[in-house]
Symmetry: D2
């Protein structure tokens, strides 16, 4: 099989590391070019010792002019703002790209409101939001995919079927999300020092997290309804995993099994979505290291409320696994190529 030459721009962080884990054994991928601005000149294994004797590549600085011409596909795992200009460069070169940052996830208006002036507004319409379970056809045709944020991934997947099927009220949704620490990225910051995070938990950015407008926009677009919701993220003392507890009001009476069959039907053909049986709620343990999103739920009959639990590995289905899945679609590879790795437990 021929291989495509792949670049990862921003390879030394946690999402970069996960991209490498999935791509190194991908039968259609040749890892060709890696950048890591602060570690340029070093060998990859000096900053990510896991790859010693596995990947023998030098890290380059992030300079568009130096990206080799023969690259077929790129992943950008860069701070927002920085990303947009790199994506523009790649787009103009004709290199397909999955951007793991936030620059192409939102409409012009909402981006401006939450992140500030967009660096390349002209490209926003070229990009497709990369959630294959909702928009596979569009991903197939685009050259720029905006990879979903981790919280949105874990929130949209449990909500989309319910909104699309008009089963729930669209303006009383509450999402209570709990994330492992790797979601904060790989950088020196006292707030994420071991002793500051370990053995405790907290909520943060209540009603103000930038992933909230992303969830709202994507769900509104997909369902054709004006979605209003409440999003509260929490930081949990663990490396990986997001569990979102979603509270919704049912429009009509239905029981847990009926709700589960909505999910089973909607996601019937989806390889990376697993629906739990009644009375079983998924734990993040059961998806760690894998590209699965597992969903369970419970209906409280007398209140016409449903509580839905979704779990993902924030670095996989919430970032790099999702990105590889998007690449596979964009390149016409079988969608699960390189992603058939079972979760790691314990």
């Amino acid at each position: 099989m021929t291989k495509i030459k792949v670049a990862i721009l921003g390879a030394s962080g946690y999402t970069g590391s996960e991209l490498l884990r999935f791509l190194v054994n991908h039968p259609r991928v040749e890892l060709s070019y890696l950048t890591a601005d602060r570690s340029a000149g070093k060998k990859l294994h000096e900053v990510l010792p896991v790859f010693k004797d596995i990947i023998d590549i030098k890290l380059h600085p992030l300079e568009t002019g130096k990206i080799p011409d023969n690259i077929d596909f790129a992943f950008t795992a860069l701070p927002h703002g920085t990303s947009a200009n790199i994506v523009k460069y790649l787009y103009e070169k004709g290199i397909k790209v999955v951007d793991l940052g936030a620059d192409f996830r939102l409409s012009y208006k909402v981006y401006k409101e939450w992140y500030g002036q967009h660096p390349c507004p002209e490209l926003i319409d070229k990009a497709v939001y990369g959630l294959p379970e909702l928009s596979r056809a569009k991903i197939k045709k685009t050259r720029i995919v905006a990879n979903p944020g981790c919280y949105p991934e874990s929130s949209i997947l449990p909500l989309a079927p319910l909104l699309k099927n008009e089963i729930i009220k669209s303006n009383t949704i509450i999402i209570d999300s709990k994330s492992g620490v790797s979601g904060a990225g790989r950088s020196a910051d006292l707030a994420f020092n071991f002793c500051e995070v370990n053995e405790g938990l907290k909520a943060y950015k209540i009603g103000e997290h930038r992933h909230m407008p992303e969830i709202i926009e994507v769900l509104s677009d997909f369902s054709g309804k004006k979605v209003a919701l409440n999003f509260t993220p929490h930081l949990i003392p663990m490396d990986r995993g997001i569990l979102s507890t979603v509270y919704v009001d049912l429009k009509k009476k239905m029981n847990t099994n009926e709700l589960l069959s909505v999910y089973n039907k909607f996601y019937k053909k989806e390889k990376f979505i697993r629906i739990m049986p009644e009375n079983v709620y998924p734990s993040t343990h059961q998806v760690r290291g894998s590209n699965f999103c597992d969903i369970g739920c419970k209906v409280i009959l007398q209140q016409k409320k449903a509580i839905i639990i979704s779990v993902i590995d924030n670095l996989v289905k919430g970032a790099s696994g999702q990105a590889v899945q998007n690449m596979n679609i964009m390149m016409g590879f079988p969608e699960d190529t390189g992603l058939n790795i079972p979760p790691v437990f314990p």
Copy 2:
């Protein structure tokens, strides 16, 4: 100062251990009698090495007939069902007791529904629910205190002021609680083995946890309103701490600062309740090992919603510290005696 002779029935678990930590330095308490059924005959420090060279007491089996007559006060930290009969014995002997179990927290009817037939229904009315911030006067006069459950402690304290002041709708409350593992007690159970719990989280007993009716009854009694709510507990990979994220609908428009002043006013004289300033949300880190309940909140103006965050140490304000506070009140000691220990960080 004279000292009272205190017994702890069920001293070898986590709540027993915490009782000992607070009582060993309590200036009005002499630790007289400890039971631990499965470890009877051993020295305390053989099952709780922390107390080596601090408490030199042998553990007794749990037999009412063997409880010494000169005991002035008892704490029962026993499985529900077992507890009720011991409490009855103590009551008849005239020994005041704080029961850390569930046997006297609920009305006859609700107990029956959630736990089964009550072993001593005649005593239910003698017992007072031991949340001093709501019912200090009654605690002062009773001989049996039902110590609150850990989740109820963390849920009732943030909700009581809002219900009492008629600020929120009483039937749309959502409580999303996250607890450390010590809440499950000290026993051999695969479900709580290190590798089953560490590095992951899950929801459990959604809408079915026995602490839910406790929260509802106490809040309904206190506020005089019929409270309806949704309670979802989660297990977090940490030893101690409960963080409850409470979602409420405001009856009228108010901002975060106005909501905070409701709390500040209601808890003005309470030594163990600390209200965070605007934009600060408490972490369980800041109460670990202490008897504090810290509360912060955020109003989402356009939705007339408020999100309230409360944190406690489940073993202290959620169990043993609360129990000592109740003893102090029942015995006429200054309420914070033995409890003025700052939190332990990190």
Copy 3:
């Protein structure tokens, strides 16, 4: 490619789970038969939810008579004692087996001393100790492999080259090992409850651990020297990983680089052994989930001492990955088939 039918006897524990993780994607393996005595009758994913929608197999009770005749290869992950009789049955049926237990790791005499009477002494000589880096040729020819213990794996690999090359004194070796909790297996035991293990560490079975005679016998056999050593295991609050700190006396003066070149030469062709450069000591982080053993060292010149650090994932190179590597050798598959999975970080 044709596939062999594989049985795992004892599939529901941590080593069973890891075998499944590696075998499910192994191109030459068909998972045919799984036992799990206490969960017999259940589906695999009911006890190991990670495998939902990946492996759809029912768990059988452990009865030799029920093992299907068409099995080509078996892994036994059973308590010692139990294992031996199963292995005997398989041997007589002509089914090759890797035993992950302790029953065939030791000589008759040493087994008796440390474990008691051996159930099938006649088979001891048929079995080969399965450390391919030391005895690949023998593994190729045997029908029973005794898979190394996790501590021995992490201790023998750093010591074998030094003893074989007569670089160190054979009777002053000290091994200070630190293991994650999964090494204790998957069972209900208060000693391994989350709160008993988390946030603390301890030494145990000092000079008495059953892995000590295993290390001594294997190293003595391999080097032809009478090895004497001191082994102290410690329990570390983490899921996976063993780090062994090995203290040795050098027979002659040499520096760190010279010592490293001994390792580099000895393990030159070994795919799963990685030698760190000078001044770099491996962390268990860098091998988690993978079949690597990473080794680093430091010579203290003035004392003619060397300190060697080895790290493995106790469940992979210390158990199930090693077992699959042994199967590959026994069956004539490329040795790394199914094991080319990079470590998982973070």
Copy 4:
């Protein structure tokens, strides 16, 4: 009782926080002055929320000129080098000080070798190494105490009785130490980010840690022997605790019980040293949050080796608790004032 006015210079780190935890309830101490250079101007509880509503003090910048004249006693918890000049200022002002840094722990010559030129060599002889179990009389008389490093505290206490009693060889000692992450201090550093540290362990600075010469000098001085040893520190994924595994060669045959009685005799009157019975090895769990050092041991008869296990809380007996103990001695208070707090478990 009259109170002394106490200053903490460097109050916002982990050792500063622990000093505050012990001093806030110390009956002879009034917290008068706190500095925290990077947080100057803030209230203490803004950087250490544990102290909200407990300590209402503003943080000052670190400027000698601004230290109030009425301070009676000071603790310095500052980087080495910085500390020395502050200590000099305090000394000249006649303010007694416990320095938690490294500036006065070593002789002039050894300091120069390991830390560089000493800022105030003239003061080195005025300072006393603050390990009361070895040098209580000197501490009583000095105005400058150099508080021991955390690793030395955990290493010297198990070794001193054996060297003093000439029971072990003084030049073949091996110390394998394992420390929680708080030992690295409270600062932004990628190496101590949660995901870099959690779920793994590593050795570091093998034979090069600055605490090694401290251990050697103190033990040599105390025993009158030239001590040579090997020190390897490891970083463990937990907040607090040091466990040191010490390997020694016995000069003559003795069994475990005989060795234990050496300890029991040597430390008979010591309130903060607890000796475990035979076959019990201490866990760091049993000292967390307390000023205890617990010691257990095992003799390997045939090798004439002993393995000694010592555990401390690195922030308490390894830092701030030890510092308060030293202050008590220097000020003539009962030595355990403010330190009678049981360990916190779990």
